[in-house]
Amino acid sequence: MPWMTRWLKKLHMYAGLLNLSILLVFGIAGLNATFEDPGEAPPPPTTAVYDFQVPANVSDYEAALAAFRFLKPALSEPPPQGAIHRDSANNVAFSLYSVNGQRTVTLLEKENRVRVEARPNELGEFFDGLHATTMNFAHTDLRIRMWAWYVEFSIWSLIFMAVTGVYLWLASRPGYRWAQVSFAAGSGLFLLLYAITR
């Protein structure tokens, strides 16, 4: 079916063009994950303290949400109830995560202040965060929600390109020896490693 091959080749190429930057993000995220050092201590956080009074007659969770609304941290989602805890000094504390890094917020109620310790992500970690931004969470920030749509599109595109790539090879040059070797080597190693891991 030459018409089908022709159209699949077009669609394979269009999918690749529409996903160029995110394929690069995936590649960079994978290389960053490969060469990160799990034993490396994170850099010390930068600390900022703001005047903030916790509203009267609220629970720890509501106090944390009030602090979140006061701080309006970019790209972060409000903390879930399970993420609110009291630290060793008995202060309400919670962490916020975004593709740009982590913030730990501590309510210093005796002082009517809130402390924010920020650990910004390096560029590699930023790409790692981007590649993991999926539609599994209801992102409230429009930028992150739009990026999650793009990741969703790219996931399906990746599967489509992998399948059509094999089809296009089989439809055009199935007897090409080096292509056979590449496919057999990659698939064989994957299946062997899968079986050993299982």
Binding site: M13, G27, L31, A33, F35, N100, N136, A179, L189, F190
Partner: protein, 191 residues
């Protein structure tokens, strides 16, 4: 040049095909976890090991030798009455609770199904593991990641050489880059 890059695109794509499918399918599972049941099969067994061992690694070694458990030791929690740790490999987690006083050992084996297994392989990375299989997966992460970058770059070249596809391709590329780079810059500068 064209032939070399076309073959590079083909060979790398075919070599990485199953890995890319694994990443794609496991990503769908993570993005739409409600579509799948990734709950592992759980088996609990009890074993009698020699008492008075206070090192989790020695207990793990005994379990590996006696029961053929494979993986790396993780999340060690040592208390006077109990030694707890995990033996982990992608798709399988053994949660061990060992009582040094009696040698009684409770083993909870969590064995993931196919989709759970893909999920764990997706997260395997790096070369720092004690268990060689994890390092092998880490090596493939590096190879596939580098290959993905080369596949993308060679794909752009191959498209550009197809003159009849340049206009529509340029439009798609401009839309894609405009959308993604704008969002990346907006996200990176929002802190």
């Amino acid at each position: 040049m064209y032939r070399t890059l076309r073959n590079t695109h083909l060979f790398l794509g075919l070599f990485c095909c199953l890995y890319l499918l694994m990443y794609g399918v496991s990503s769908i599972q993570m993005a739409h976890s409600q579509w799948f049941s990734a709950r592992p099969a759980v088996t609990i067994i009890h074993a009698a090991l020699p008492p008075q061992t206070t090192d989790a690694r020695r207990v793990a070694r005994s379990l590996m030798d006696r029961y053929g458990m494979r993986g790396e030791v993780a999340q060690v929690r040592a208390a006077s009455a109990q030694l707890s740790f995990n033996i982990v490999r992608p798709g399988t987690v053994y949660q061990i609770d060992y009582s040094p006083g009696s040698g009684d050992t409770r083993i909870r084996e969590n064995h993931a199904g196919f989709i759970g297994m893909l999920n764990r392989i997706h997260h395997a990375k790096g070369f720092w593991h004690d268990y060689w299989v994890l390092n092998a997966w880490g090596a493939f992460v590096a190879v596939v990641s580098a290959a993905l970058i080369v596949i993308a770059a060679t794909g752009i070249y191959l498209w550009f050489k197809l003159h009849q596809e340049r206009v529509i391709g340029a439009i798609l590329l401009a839309v894609s880059l405009g959308y993604s780079l704008t969002l990346m810059i907006l996200a990176r500068t929002a802190w």
